[in-house]
């Protein structure tokens, strides 16, 4: 029996403290916005980040958009909570809000 894709995503974001849904890998991002998201997490000294390459899995790519009610990639989850896309990550990094969230989850 196939598992519902939303259940798969729910499991990913609850079992891993920091999950970044992105295009490409952390080493080789395939989109400028995903690259920026990876850079921001590095600048926050994030450890144990799980990245999910949505280009490798069309079901996840579509499913995460529905799950978050958010039409774009990348998407950041910390401790099961949707934090936002690259614009919100940038704003929260610049205002200093993101660093403590990442530190508490690392």
């Amino acid at each position: 029996m196939s598992q519902n894709i939303h259940d798969v995503i729910r499991q990913q974001v609850t079992e891993n403290p920091i999950v970044l849904y992105m295009k490409g890998s952390a080493q080789f991002p395939q989109c400028g916005f995903s690259a920026r998201a990876v850079q921001i997490l590095k600048a926050c000294e994030a450890k144990s980040v799980m990245t999910v390459d949505v280009l490798q899995d069309p079901a996840i790519r579509q499913g995460i958009k529905e799950f978050s009610n958010w039409p774009t990639i990348p998407q950041l989850y910390i401790k099961g909570e949707f934090i936002g896309g690259s614009d919100i990550m940038t704003e929260m990094f610049q205002s200093g809000e993101l660093q403590p969230l990442v530190a508490a989850a690392s």
């Binding site: 009610n69 958010w70 039409p71 774009t72 936002g84 690259s86 614009d87 919100i88 704003e91 929260m92």
Partner: protein, 78 residues
């Protein structure tokens, strides 16, 4: 190809904005949006309101939209 003016019109058609600037090259757009509907909303909720205004166009016509959203109070306090 979609122009920044069209993106501006799409957003304005679905969301009453006090201030709306859109620039871009046809694939990537940047928007600054001030709307009363943003008051008391989180950043995620503010962006979701813009995405809702754009609807299917966000999936089909607009590759990337980078935005800064403000309630009138946030805009005034900037």
């Amino acid at each position: 190809m979609v122009t920044p003016e069209q993106v501006r019109d799409y957003i304005a058609a679905g969301l009453a904005c006090d201030h709306l600037e859109v620039s871009g090259d046809g694939a990537h757009f940047e928007a600054v949006i001030v709307a009363a509907a943003f008051s008391g909303k989180s950043r995620i909720q503010q962006h979701q309101l813009v995405y809702a205004a754009l609807g299917e166009r966000m999936r089909e016509e607009i590759h990337a939209l980078s935005m800064k959203t403000f309630s009138p109070e946030q805009w005034a306090a900037r």
